[in-house]
């Protein structure tokens, strides 16, 4: 299987002089296209920093990041914004939906950032995604008029609107109860299997992690264990 992501000797140091803090040490990691991966580790281990570097939200102090065989760590800001919008989808613990907009409108936002008006095709895709995540009945509700699980499912559909190759998720079920967590996991798996989307999920939730195809534990800024299901 081809790699969709390659990290080579990634180091990350915050600060300078005597206040330097190194949070990642020589991290080498390949992620296969279409795989479902979990990153685990204690708080402060460096896993969110790693995810931010993968998502081009942060740059490594040294090392190389390759997404789809394109080196991203040396890209300019505008190029990175394009890459993120087209290739990467993000899901966070908090949904960051815009409260003035409906679920349907929120899902279209990543598309509207690059285009003034939604095309017929993108409206169709949004409706398909609404159905996929089971929000048909509440699609015209304002973001504030939905349950936590519905808001997170909206966020997942929003992450998928541009058909990204990779979804990066940071504690996507961190605010949810166990039943809703199971539903969200099932949904993420369905997306993974239906679209071949690669998932990299940071989680503290054993129920998510143990079902991933691969678990990578980060400890003290290094890969401590890397195991396959």
């Amino acid at each position: 299987m081809d790699n969709i992501l390659e990290l080579k000797n990634i180091n990350k140091i915050y600060g300078n002089g005597e206040f330097k803090t190194q949070v990642l040490y020589d991290v080498n990691l390949n992620i296969e296209k279409g795989s479902f991966n979990s990153i685990i580790g204690e708080s402060g281990s460096g896993k969110s920093t790693l995810l931010n570097i993968i998502g081009t939200l942060d740059k490594p102090t040294s090392g190389e990041v390759h997404i789809n065989n394109i080196r991203t760590d040396s890209m300019k800001r505008a190029e990175l914004a394009d890459l993120r919008n087209q290739t990467l989808g993000f899901i966070f613990q908090f949904h960051y939906l815009l409260p003035e907009f409906t679920a349907f409108e929120n899902i279209l936002i990543p598309y509207l950032m690059k285009n003034s008006k939604p095309s017929k095709e993108i409206v169709e895709r949004a409706n398909e995604l609404i159905e996929l995540v089971g929000l048909t009945k509440v699609k015209n509700n304002l973001a504030t008029k939905m349950s936590g699980g519905q808001q997170q499912r909206t966020a997942i559909a929003r992450a998928l609107i541009n058909n990204p190759a990779i979804i990066l998720a940071d504690e996507p079920t961190g605010n949810l109860d166990s039943d809703t967590t199971e539903k969200i996991y099932t949904l993420l798996r369905k997306v993974n299997e239906s679209f071949g989307t690669t998932f990299i999920i940071i989680t503290h939730d054993r129920r998510i992690a143990e079902k991933a195809d691969r678990n990578i534990e980060i400890k003290d800024g290094r890969i401590n264990i890397d195991i396959l299901r």
Partner: protein
């Protein structure tokens, strides 16, 4: 052994606990060597559990059925102990070494571990089966009250390799190399290199592996 497997499998499929137990007990009564017991464990009991299917008609009660079948096998294993002791005493092969068989924190699949514990007994060890999901602190504390030569960790769910590594690290910090760390289980099927990356000393797959380890330790005694 296939004919015995087919019979047992049919009884297990019917969830006929009474006849499942009595059928396997009759095989144990005829056992005259460690391998006779091991064959029943691996070629009938383990095989039946691994090959448990779930028909479309039963798809909503798959876990229910799996748990009942596991429970029947667990009863058989409890009742096997007198036969294990008899065969071990017959061959007088005790090697004076003590092994604690444990599932690490979070690992609740214990049938494999129970079988392995009996394999250690048959190979001449004093084998202590501790149980499922044992917190790592308990391993460390156990070293203060009991001389243990081997910790054998059984790991089925690959995710539990993470807690196994924490446990092994803690044991090595406390006991250095005075305790051998053996590992085994389905978690290693796709992770053969995890044996060294979690800090274990040896991977045990089969009864023969355990038997050979017993011989090696007897020579070292």
């Amino acid at each position: 052994m296939d004919i015995f497997y087919e019979k047992f499998s049919t009884l297990l499929d019917k969830e006929d606990k009474e006849n499942c137990v009595s059928f396997i007990m009759s095989l144990f009564q005829n056992a005259s060597s460690p391998n006779d017991i091991v064959n029943v464990y691996t070629k009938i009991l383990a095989r039946a559990l691994n090959e448990i299917g779930c028909s479309i008609a039963d798809r909503n009660i798959c876990i229910w059925k799996e748990h009942i079948r596991s429970s029947i096998v667990r009863t058989i294993l409890e009742n096997a102990y007198p036969f294990i002791v008899k065969i071990r005493n017959d061959i007088k092969s005790t090697n004076g070494k003590t092994v604690a068989v444990i599932c690490p924190d979070g690992e609740y699949h214990e049938i494999g571990a129970r079988m392995i514990s009996d394999f250690f007994s048959l190979a001449g060890f004093e084998s202590i089966y501790v149980g499922a999901s044992t917190p790592k602190e308990e391993f460390i504390n156990a070293l203060n009250y009991k001389k243990i030569d081997i910790f054998a960790l059984s790991i089925t769910n690959y995710y539990n390799l993470v807690s196994a590594k924490k446990t092994i690290t803690a044991i090595k910090e406390k006991a250095g190399n005075s305790v051998l760390i053996a590992v085994g289980g389905q978690a290693f099927n796709n992770n053969p290199s995890a044996v060294s990356s979690i800090g274990a000393d040896i991977l045990l797959h089969t009864f023969e592996d355990i038997w050979n380890l017993g011989n090696t330790m007897k020579e070292d005694k």
